[in-house]
Structures are given as C-alpha cells and as structure tokens.
C-alpha cells in the first residue's frame, strides 16, 4: 500500500461565472513523479495554484503529509514543504548561482544584528547541494543570466529539491527549452525522485509525461477524469481521456 503524500478532496474553484474546477480529487503517492494532463482550460494550472498556495479553493480540502492544510500564500506552502518551480524561474539573473540557491535563506556570520553574509560557506555548500541532483553543476560563481535556459531551470529545480521540500510542483518545466536541454531537465526530475522527493508536473508533451512519470492524472473541463499508472497505459488511452472519447476502445 503506497503512502499518499497529498490528497486533494472535492476541490471546486470558480472565477466569476467560469467554473475552473468542479469536485476535483486526486492523490499524489509519496516518492512518485505524477503527471497532470488535460487540454487548455481543463483546470490544471488552477489545481496546481491551489496546491501551491497561490489560490484558495471555494470548496474542498487538501490533506498534505497526513494533515489538513489551508495555505494562505506560496510562502506558507513553501514553509509546509511544497515548493513550486515557476515558469518565470524565480531566479535573479544578475546574481551568482550560489546567491540564488541561498536567496531568502542566506547564511550569516558574526553578530546577528549585522547580518554579514557567510559567502564562503554558501559558496561551498551550494555546489554540494546542486551536485545531489545534477552531474554537471552549472558554474557557481557565474551570474544566472549568463547560463542557458536549461541550466537556469536546473538551478531552480535543484534549489527546490535541495531545500528539503517534500513536494515539488512544476508547471511546464521544459516549455521553452530545446531537445538536449529538455533531456537534462528530465534527468534532474528523475534525480529528485531518486532522492525520495515527490514531484507533480504539468506538461503538454505526452512523450515527456511517459518518459518521466509514474502516474498520470487527467483533467477535462474542470473535472478529474481519472488516473493511470504510466507503465500500464498507452498514449492513445490518455489522449482519449483528455479529449473525452471515453474508454480506451473509443465511443462517445
């Protein structure tokens, strides 16, 4: 019996007259990479924003790590162990890689009131932290803006993993990347799973979903259609669930 890390129960969310989610329930199994798929407007991003504390549901509840939670903000969700890697990367391009790894969590030395940065320790530790998830650590001293898009995404994902989050949420992590960089980011996601972290990833790329996930949940028009174990299903079945051609055998 696998442990459930997060359970969303009967989540509903409307924006004015538009119903984005209706009675949506899903479970994330601890230590798995879960994919969330669906057509545009199916409610994927809304569900992810509710899990990461950006939005609050109109109805329904979320149980995370055995406790019912109601995150008021992304910061609260982060403190609770849910880290979201945003598409805009949440990195300061002008600052070095190590400074981004420690952004908002700086180590200091000397008298506490002076807040003097312990650059040497942060420098050394950030390299080791990234090393857990990537074989080729991006240059620690370089400003992030000098890195490629893939390297930046890797820094952002590895930072989330390194800070001891239990669940890492990613919305289209490779949307803007080339083939080689996409593969590198996928390797990092696999590295997160090897370290025992749970991952929820939204992607439009079904090939990618089949490459990296253990389980796939399908949304359609704000409702959860169901889930499949990745190795027990085929892309055709997932596509038919997404489009509403119900059942693997077809039929409307």
């Amino acid at each position: 019996m696998p442990d459930t890390l997060l359970r969303a129960e009967a989540i509903s969310k409307s924006f004015g007259p538009v119903v984005a989610l209706q009675d949506a329930s899903l479970e994330l199994v601890a230590g798995e990479v879960t994919g969330l798929v669906g057509d545009n407007g199916a409610g994927k991003s809304t569900l992810v924003k509710i899990i990461s504390g950006v939005l609050r549901p109109d109805a329904g509840s979320i149980v995370f790590d055995g406790e019912r939670v109601d995150f008021a903000s992304p910061a609260a969700a982060r403190a609770g162990g849910i880290e979201t890697v945003y598409q805009d990367l949440a990195l300061a391009g002008n600052m070095a890689v190590w400074a981004n790894v420690y952004l908002g969590r700086e180590l200091t030395v000397g008298p506490p009131s002076l807040n003097i940065l312990d650059k040497r320790t942060m420098h050394a530790k950030s390299a080791a932290m990234l090393k857990q998830f990537v074989e080729q650590v991006p240059p620690i001293d370089e400003p992030v803006e000098s890195l490629s898009g893939g390297q930046r995404q890797i820094v952002a994902i590895a930072r989330a993993g390194a800070w001891g989050s239990k669940l890492i949420v990613m919305d289209e992590p490779t949307a803007a990347l080339g083939v080689a960089e996409t593969r590198a980011v996928e390797e990092v996601i696999k590295g997160l799973r090897q370290r025992g972290l749970t991952v929820l990833v939204i992607s439009h790329n079904l090939d990618q979903i089949f490459r990296i996930t253990d389980r796939i949940w399908v949304l359609r028009r704000g409702r959860v259609i169901g889930s499949r174990e990745t190795r027990m299903t085929r892309p055709e079945e997932i596509v038919s669930m997404i489009t509403g051609a119900t059942g693997a055998a077809g039929g409307a």
Binding site: A90, A92, N94, M95, A99, L103, L117
Partner: protein, 324 residues
C-alpha cells in the same frame, strides 16, 4: 598566437575594468602634461571638491541598483544645510548638535516619504522623487524667503574646511561613508536583497524577501547621505543657501552610471561609483587647469556619461554574440 592571446587578455582587462583603465589613462596623461596636476594641493582640491557629491553618489548607488533613483537628493542636501544652519545660528546653547539632529530628521522625513510613495503606494520613482524634489525646494524658498543664512559659529567650519593628518575632513567623511556603505552593499544580507530586488523583483518576493521594506530602507538611506552632505556644506561656507546643491541629483546619477551601474537595476558596484565620481572630478579639474571655461564642464560630464553607456552597450552586445 601568443600575441593574440595577449590581445585577448588585454581586451578582457579593458572589458572588465574599462572604467579603471580610462581613469588611470586620464590621470597618467594629466600627470605627464600638467605638472601642477600632481601637486599635493591640487590632489587635495580634487578630493575635497568631490566629497560632497561622492557621499550622495554612494547613497544613489543603492537606489540605482534597486532599479530606481532619487531626484530629490539635491533638494534634500539644501534642506539639511538650511535646517542645520538655522538651528546653529538661532539657538544659543547646543545649537550645533541640535542643528545636526534637526537636519538629519528633516531629511529622513523626506526619505521616508519617498520610500512610502515608491515602496508601499507603487508610485514610479521618477514621479515620486521629482515631486518631493520640487516640493522640498519650494518649501525651502518659502521658509527662507529665498535668501541665504549667515553666521554659523566659526568652530563648525572644521567639518567643512578642517584637516585630519593632512586630509580634509570632508574627504575623511566620504571615505568612511564609502567603506561603510560598500560593506553594507557587498557583504550584508540587506545589500544582497538590494541586488535581488533590482534583478528580479518577482523572484525576490517569491523567495521571501520583503521587497517593500528593502525599497523603503534604500530611499531613507539615500536621504541620510544627502543630509550628511548638506551638513558638510554648512561647514564649508559657515552659511546656508536655499539654492545649494542644484542639479546634484543628475551629477550623482551620472557618476553612478559612469561607474558601471545600469538604470535597469541589478548591476553596479560601490567601487565603480567612487571611480565614476573621481573620473568626472579629474576631468573637471583638468579643464580648469588648462584654463577652459567652467561652462564646458557639464559638456564634458555629459559626453563621458554617454560614452560610458555606449561602451557598456557595445560590450554587452559582444557578450551576447558569444553566448549564442
């Protein structure tokens, strides 16, 4: 082959330390062609004349790295000197300390107003500080009837005209401010957050940086620097003029930009600002030594500013061409 590697090393040096190279070239050239340039008296002159502006520029560096700037610093400098001088002239006992405290407090109120408008109300820094610049200057004219105040106790001129170990007091104060604020900018968490907010305000907020508090604190800090400059100004003239420090805001911004900071925020260093201040100062001094009319000085400042930004843009394009 070796020569091309040397060439590349040289071009790398110029790219990374271009400002310093230009500064050393200008100073070296002046030392060679104008013997009076290198005299103790002239060096002290340059240091002294640029200290007040330099202190303002140190504060301005924070605002520009933050992605803003502060147009009110000239008015705030004048405010400090008028408030301070008035107290020193009119109050019999403890007039000097009361004047210093009063000058700082009045300026910090302006800084807090700037910070509140920009950080908490989201007013554009140009609009907010243009507003306070105009309002403060107007209030000074109203309060003084636009006439200068004379009669500051002579003892206070030590602050403006005195020497410590052969170095003018304003220069010593400037050095202390530059080292202190350089330390804050480059070695403390607060300085780190100034870069983070200037570089990517969304990322900084996501990672838990209190963006509003950082912005507020920076504008208060800029005003404190301007207040200090205004107090030194009292010491240099034993008086206060309502028209003091007109246009300092733009010269300070120019020095910071020449020093390598960008108005887009996120980039710049304290040492760059200090070299920027003295590059503009040395050029002004050189024109003076050659007997060129002082009216040419803004022309030189403007040309250096545009040249520095153009050179920076040229190098940035080069870098991108390589990265792609």
């Amino acid at each position: 082959m070796a020569s091309s590697r040397e060439g590349r090393a040289l071009s790398g040096l110029v790219r990374r330390h271009g400002l310093l190279v230009v500064f050393i070239l200008v100073v070296g050239l002046m030392l060679a062609v104008k013997p009076t340039f290198g005299t103790y008296q002239n060096i002290v002159n340059i240091l002294q004349q640029n200290s007040i502006l330099g202190i303002i520029a140190c504060g301005m560096t924070f605002a520009i790295i933050l992605g803003g700037f502060d147009l009110s610093v000239g008015s705030v400098t004048a405010l400090a000197s008028v408030v301070g001088a008035t107290a020193m002239i009119d109050i019999e006992t403890y007039g000097i300390p009361i004047g210093i405290v009063g000058a700082f407090l009045s300026c910090l109120i302006v800084g807090a107003a700037n910070g509140w408008l920009i950080a908490y109300l989201g007013v554009n820094p140009f609009v907010a500080t243009l507003g306070t610049m105009t309002v403060v200057r107007g209030l000074i004219y109203v309060a003084t009837n636009a006439s200068p105040r004379f009669g500051v106790p002579y003892s206070f001129t030590t602050v403006g005209l005195g020497y410590i170990l052969g170095i003018p007091v304003p220069v010593v104060i400037f050095a202390i401010v530059a080292i202190l604020l350089g330390f804050v900018l480059h070695r403390t968490r607060f300085g780190h957050y100034v870069y983070a907010v200037g570089g990517n305000v969304v990322a900084a907020a996501e990672m838990g940086v209190n963006v509003q508090r950082v912005r507020f604190a920076v504008y208060v800090l800029v005003s404190a620097c301007a207040a200090l400059s205004g107090i030194i100004l009292i010491g240099q003239t034993a008086s206060a003029t309502p028209q003091a420090a007109l246009g300092y805001e733009l010269t300070a911004i120019a020095a910071v930009i020449v020093g390598g900071a960008s108005l887009g925020g996120g980039h710049g260093r304290m040492i760059g600002t200090i070299i920027g201040v003295f590059l503009l100062g040395v050029v002004a001094n050189s024109l003076n030594l050659f007997g060129v009319s002082p009216f040419w000085q803004p022309v030189a400042t403007g040309l250096i500013l545009v040249g520095a930004v153009a050179a920076d843009g040229f190098h940035k394009r080069g870098t991108f061409a390589h990265a792609k």
